[in-house]
């Protein structure tokens, strides 16, 4: 199987970076949740904090890389207006082509009632996904700034978890709609 340049970027944006983000999120959440008084020795705190800094840092970096590659590399290919105002060049197609971009294809409804995938799915995904790196960066900076002090400050720890989970929710909206839309009208 050979991937085109566009398919490769779509895989990097959605699968590679998305998987890294998901792994880092799981580790960061588990590490932060169990960062409680009486559970870890002073030596253990050093080891735990290093992993937390790494997990949160990777999560923030991959979140930025995901939205930047998605918006500035993959999205322009999706939204090209190739088929004309009436999407005439999409007629009879089963998939997007060089004359009918994925957006054209979805809005043309040539393969069923698909326009909602753009008007609702893509319109929500392309915007809300940008909340993920913002929230992940603030969560990372909070963990970096307070460090082991988070052990004794339950409320602050919970506030970081709220940022972490809210960022993850935004990423899930982006990831899930991205996967579905790429299934309906793949970038190739």
């Amino acid at each position: 199987m050979e991937l085109t340049s566009r398919e490769t970027w779509a895989v990097i944006h959605g699968l590679v970076l998305g998987t890294l983000y998901l792994l880092a999120f799981g580790g960061a959440l588990a590490g932060l949740w169990s960062l409680r008084p009486g559970l870890i020795t002073a030596a253990g705190i050093h080891e735990r904090m290093k992993r937390l800094y790494l997990g949160f840092g990777v999560m923030a970096a991959t979140a930025w890389a995901t939205v930047i590659t998605g918006t500035w590399i993959v999205y322009p290919w999706y939204r090209e207006k190739l088929a004309g105002a009436d999407f005439a060049k999409c007629a009879g197609l089963d998939l997007p082509s060089k004359a009918c971009s994925p957006r054209d294809f979805i809005l043309s409804n040539v393969s069923g009632d698909t326009e909602k995938w753009h008007e609702y799915g893509m319109e929500w995904k392309e915007h809300v996904a940008w909340a993920a790196p913002i929230l992940a960066t603030s969560a990372f900076l909070l963990v970096l700034y307070y460090g082991p002090r988070l052990i004794s400050r339950k409320w602050l720890r919970m506030a970081v978890i709220v940022l972490l989970v809210a960022g993850f929710a935004a990423a899930v909206v982006g990831g899930a709609f991205g996967a579905f839309i790429n299934k309906v009208a793949p970038i190739s």
């Binding site: 008084p37 009486g38 870890i40 020795t41 002073a42 705190i45 939205v67 918006t71 500035w72 999205y75 322009p76 939204r79 090209e80 008007e119 609702y120 319109e123 929500w124 392309e126 915007h127 809300v128 940008w130 909340a131 790196p133 913002i134 929230l135 960066t137 603030s138 900076l141 909070l142 700034y145 307070y146 460090g147 082991p148 002090r149 052990i151 004794s152 400050r153 409320w155 602050l156 506030a159 709220v162 940022l163 809210a166 935004a170």
Partner: protein, 138 residues
Amino acid sequence: MNAEGTTDMTTTTTAHHDEEIAPELAELNLPDKPDGPGAAMMISAGIGIFVLGFLTVLAEASTDAKTWLQKWEWGVGVGPLAGKTTIAALSYFVSLIVLWVLWREKNVNVKKAFYIGLALGVLGAIGTYPTFFQKFTP
């Protein structure tokens, strides 16, 4: 007056007693840190998301705004999304730096900062929701 004994959002005194709650921290000899930078991280996240939601609604409501936001794409083909997301990200980083510098030595009420950031973030998230922002289409 709040739990920290202050009436304003900020104060220059710090009053954390981490070792009393988690004795294992005593061995680490951690210096006390003011909450100002932490509050800056929370509020700036809310500002960034609020700006994103606001610009999403604005681009839908105004053709002029949409055209201006599209100029941020530098010919790449991103459309107005380029302006919305770039300005939102810049708003986040600039507000983070400004608030961090302003509050770097102050003990800010971090709970109040969290709720301000949360309110801004929720408003911003609503602004990015298609069913909401498409109501502003002329």
